[in-house]
Amino acid sequence: MAIEFKPSPSLPPPVKSVGAVAWLRQNLLSSPLNVFLTFFSVYILYLLIPPMIEWGLVNATWSGSSKAACTAGGACWAFIGARFEQFMYGLYPPEETWRINIAAILLIVMIGAFAIKTVNKLYLSISIIVVYPIIAYILFAGGSFGLEAVDTSLWGGLFLTMLLGIIGIVASFPLGVLLALGRRSNMPVAKSVCVVFIETIRAVPLITILFMASVMIPLFLPDGLNFNKLLRVLIGITLFSAAYMAEVIRGGLQAIPKGQYEAADAMGLTYWQSMILVILPQALKLVIPGIVNTFIGLFKDSTLVYIVGMFDLLGIIQLANHDANWLGTTIEGYAFAGFIYWAICFGMSRYSMTIERKLETGHKRN
């Protein structure tokens, strides 16, 4: 009779090497220094988190019409509630703000339509880039179709921030591509014009460019011809971030092997065909993180318009802080602005990671 081999069941791994205990030992308490660092971090968290929760949630006041209503000793979120309209639309006449809402909803719907398979993507893109701005401008500025005219000096709040951010991003990208191509071109005149432009802009802070836009441009134009301050500032921001964009894209262009340029030439493609069909799609894909970082930079830098006297989200909060009814609510205002800026910038950086993964075609040599 054959003896059946029966291995005794394996012992469970030692308690120290599995589960929460092992995790703690490995990640928090692996060496004396780590033990110290862990306790130090816990202490810092203890110092920061409970008072913040107490201030921001437990003792907070959520509604009221002036600072006097905030008696609990915590955050005075009532301030945000009372000023919410202004933070969103700036000094835009309250009875006209529906125009901004409609434009925003329209934009979201148009962008959302990309997800529908039966829609022609080309027509949709054209209508977003060409038709939408016209509709939006008519809605925002008014003065036609029976809409009341609203001066651009009244535009403000998150509306102005988004306006500066979106137009800046949409306009600076193609300009940056052109500048980058110009800098890599073998025509000496085109190249030097681009190099001088890019390097001059990159050498100076944005604030000098904004001052130039608001103070110097009128001096360079003939008498009588003068355009809107918002437009001048927009041009300044766009040129500024186009120069940075150009450098990012140049990095991508340089990373494309020479064989690709030569192959495109050998196919008989013209310069623009080879750039648009062969080189740029590859180059831009390589530098998506850099491009999105430039976008984020532009969005954050749009706060600087406050210095030249425009009231974007940060500017309008700065203005509201001086309201005699709401003295001492600075932190609440900054926390609100900070949350919005952070959410948008962080969202953009995460979205860029998604696009990067989606466009990854696996040509990487591993």
């Binding site: 025509m187 005149v189 100076v204 802070p205 604030i207 000098t208 003939p222 940060l314 932190i331 800026y341």
Partner: protein, 391 residues
């Protein structure tokens, strides 16, 4: 066939050389024309408004106070002097900011790579929060929310001879007395000796292989010699201590809140970017390098100092340069909270008072351009020096 190709070659329209020549001539013409058009408009406008061009305004009395001045300055000094004061303020804040941001960045970058889960998470939260908030918002936060919430002078926080209140940080101000020259001489002599010691130690190590703790020894040397010089000359330093009167604190050295807010905001913001650069640099060094160093028997500290760091620095330096440049340029945001740096004094007050838009803005751009160029030249030199280690 030959005819056809000849005629094809002769067609100027399709000749790449001609086309590029024509395009460039057109481009040049446009640039020259636009430049000329703007310049002539400028001249007409200046004549219309009665603004005289030139830098003669720099010699006129400024008539405005500058809050922070490291060199002698009063309201009766000239615009040129005010410009100089502002220039020094910009340099000081940029230099201190760069130093502080580097320290913060290295610590946070290493912390994010730490094998301690909690430390790595905290560093991640710090980096992701500060990187995604506008710098101007952070500056406002420090200035209007944190520093403005400090108590009034009569309720200052007091630590020994240091006072902290709304008007800034007050600390004892060292004032050199007679005989301080001896201390300075001793200090510089000890530095020279320390350099000689390090050179000697390096030579001996290459010759014999024997090591000598030159860095610790030279640090000790500098401290001992300087202290001896102090003792010999009878401690020729007196401190101007800040005094608390009924409603104010007087005397001592003051760090105004504007300065503190700009410095803290600039260095923590740029520090978050530098942390990511440091992290990327260290991750770029192949793990095999560390393993190889360990198998050679190097200690962990030597592995980091001799193997990982020199290779990581090559990846770190170029982006670090642009962060330093960004910090120097971002110091101009101090204008928004009245830190009297270049933009606030020259493009703000001077421009308002004199109306010399072209000159003041040009002057600022020139300064920033020079600053940018010199930092990038220095970093390029350093980069070249580091990359020589490549085989």
């Amino acid at each position: 066939m030959t005819d056809k190709s000849n005629s094809y070659n002769k067609s100027l329209l399709n000749d790449a050389g001609t086309r590029s020549l024509v395009f460039q001539i057109v481009l040049l013409a446009i640039v020259v024309f636009v430049g000329y058009y703007l310049f002539s408009n400028l001249q007409a406008n200046l004549a219309n408004r009665g603004i005289s061009t030139g830098f003669s305004f720099l010699n006129e009395p400024a008539g405005f106070p500058v809050l922070i001045h490291l060199i002698e300055y009063t309201e009766s000094n000239s615009y040129g002097r005010a410009f100089l004061v502002a220039l020094i303020n910009t340099f000081v804040i940029s230099f201190l900011g760069i130093a502080l941001a580097t320290v913060i960045g290295v610590i946070m970058g290493l912390a994010r790579l730490s094998n301690n889960w909690l430390v790595a998470r905290l560093a991640t939260v710090y980096i992701e929060t500060l990187r995604n908030l506008p710098l101007l918002l952070q500056m406002f936060f420090w200035y209007f929310a944190v520093l403005a919430a400090l108590p009034a002078p009569k309720n200052s926080f007091i630590f020994a001879d240091f006072f902290l209140n709304k008007r800034g940080i007050y600390s004892p101000n060292p004032i050199a007395q007679d005989g301080f020259g001896i201390v300075v001489t001793g200090f510089f002599l000890s530095i020279a000796a320390a350099i000689a010691l390090i050179v000697w130690a390096k030579k001996r190590q290459t010759r014999t292989g024997m090591t000598f703790p030159a860095y610790w020894a030279s640090l000790g040397l500098i401290i001992v010699v300087t202290f001896l010089a102090l003792a010999v000359s009878g401690f020729p330093i007196e401190f101007d201590l800040p005094q608390k009167s009924r409603f104010n604190v007087t005397g001592g050295m003051v760090l105004p809140p504007e300065f503190v807010a700009v410095l803290v905001a600039l260095s923590t913001y740029t520090g978050a970017f530098i942390a990511e650069i440091v992290r990327a640099g260290i991750l770029s060094v192949n793990w095999g390098q560390t393993e190889a160093a360990r198998s050679l028997g190097l200690k962990d500290s030597l592995t980091q100092r001799l193997i990982v760091l020199p290779q990581a620095l090559r990846v770190i330096i170029p982006p670090l340069t642009s962060q330093y440049l960004n910090l120097a340029k971002n110091s101009s945001l101090g204008a928004a909270i009245a830190y009297p740096e270049l933009v606030a004094v020259v493009m703000g007050t001077t421009l308002n008072q004199t109306g010399q838009a072209i000159e003041t803005i040009g002057l600022c751009m020139l300064v920033y351009g020079t600053l940018s160029l010199s930092i990038s030249m220095f970093m390029n030199w350093y980069n070249k020096k580091m990359s020589l280690m490549e085989r």
